[in-house]
């Protein structure tokens, strides 16, 4: 493990990233750091490239220009992906008839890669149960994933994302289709992960109410990075209004 990188404050460095799907430009010259302990919200209208940006950071897409550094390593050399948890955008691609229990969904992530030192079956179970407990789903562990409600499924996916005790957690619109009371609990839970467990959180959201309540940093994306900074400055700068203006622009383009 690279100690110097581990101690430095910057976990992820996004440097001058551009990306296009064929002729369609999706991201242009995006640069920003993610610091240890941040609770960063990425906001921006539909189609502004938020999901694309996260996929590039996670190595799922290759940028046409620029580079991502993860824990001091270029993304293409980085291989310790357990340090990074990911909850994809609304798991609509999930087969509702897939025969996996909530427990198995978490186990996939936990057991897919070998552990050193090896854990006993019992230790494995404890880790998986702990993750389910953190999202309040321990009583549903034997339920088939497709038999759970959308919000419950989402919680299981969060359990899956945190089971390896990642340093940083990416969530792509995790609360779509989740009722407002559960949302409250959910964001309290993220707060706890952020403040107590010290997990850095990167959250894509359209819910600006949440942004005001919990986050420390805001990145506002609209193909380009319109704003990046602390939440307090964000409110002062009125960047929010600009973003809303951008929203109209981009939705007419479609």
């Amino acid at each position: 493990m690279d100690l110097s990188a581990n101690e430095s404050k910057t976990l992820i460095d996004v440097k001058d990233i551009s990306f296009s799907y064929g002729p369609i430009k999706v991201l242009q010259d995006v640069t920003f750091p993610i610091q240890r302990g941040d609770f960063l919200a990425i906001i921006g209208p539909n189609g502004s490239g938020k999901t694309t940006l996260i996929k590039i950071i996670l190595g799922l897409l290759k940028p046409s220009k620029g580079k991502v550094w993860i824990l001091g390593k270029p993304a293409e050399e980085f291989d310790d992906w357990r340090k990074i948890g990911y909850v994809p955008q609304k798991a609509t691609h999930i087969d509702p008839f897939f025969p996996a229990s909530a427990r198995e969904v978490v186990a996939m992530e936990f057991l897919a890669r070998n552990k050193f030192p090896r854990l006993t079956k019992r230790e494995e179970d404890l880790c998986i149960e702990k993750a389910l407990k953190q999202v309040g789903m321990e009583h549903f562990k034997n339920w088939r994933i497709g038999g759970l409600s959308g919000g419950q499924q989402q919680r299981v996916f969060i359990a899956r994302a945190i089971v390896n005790e990642p340093h940083i957690l990416f969530l792509d619109e995790p609360t779509t289709g989740v009722d407002s009371e559960t949302q409250e609990h959910f964001y309290d839970m993220l707060d706890t992960l952020n403040k107590k467990e010290g997990i850095t959180i990167v959250l894509i959201t359209h819910d600006t109410g949440i942004v005001n309540k919990h986050v420390t940093q805001v990145a506002c994306l609209n193909q380009r990075l319109v704003y990046h900074g602390t939440h307090a400055e964000f409110c002062r700068a009125g960047a929010f209004k600009d973003m809303l203006a951008g929203h109209h622009l981009i939705s007419h383009r479609h």
Partner: protein, 265 residues
Amino acid sequence: MEAFLTYGFLQRALLAGIFVAMACALLGVFLILRRDAMIGHGLAHVTFAGVALGLFLKIIPLSMALVIAVLAALGIMKLKEKAGIYGDTAIAIFSSVGLALGILLATLAHSFNVDLFSYLFGDILAIEASEVWLSIGLAVIVVFIVILNYHKFMYMTFDQEAAKASGIKVGRLDILLTILTAVTIVLGMKVVGILLVSALVVIPAAAGLQLASNFKQAIILSSIIAFVSVLLGLILAFYLDFPASGTIVILSFLLFGLFFIFKRR
């Protein structure tokens, strides 16, 4: 029952049949969930070309079939990826071309005879000792590799993108699964024949999936159904003088039906 203890050919058929059918069922669960159930059917037809080539070149048909099936399986995969062709289209192309080549080669080799027919309809009771050990050996290796990669295969079947994001080498494992499938299809061909091997892959797994509430159950139930089908199928075939392949497949279908009804209640 004592026939099973005294006749070597029955023991061999039973042993090879059970191992191969369980490997088929195990892979079948993954293939069905990957929406790739027809790959077995397609590869089996390509295997026909391999067998005919083997007979033509006077090389052991089974080994030739293995090579051709693996190549075809990788070809189907590449065609899907690179040419952006739908999976079922790629399978249709490969299976028909494979069959066409098989017909040409078989005619050239003047081997449209009992030999080829045993490959088409299966002749497990005529399986030779060397083929038994090859089949069992390969089936055990297939099962072993799947169990070793169990969580990875399950993860990438369930949620490919998240699996990738957690650092699983999905591309490589896809190739591995494809090769395992090809090998298993060829083994299954020995048991029930080219025309029925798809049943061995799909029916027990589909039956297991009817009742399973988790993945482990799906795997275990499917394997049990495969086991029971071959065991009972061979016993029935022997005593009633039925063709073994047809009996095994019909039995697994009856079990599927039973599970289906049981689930509805």
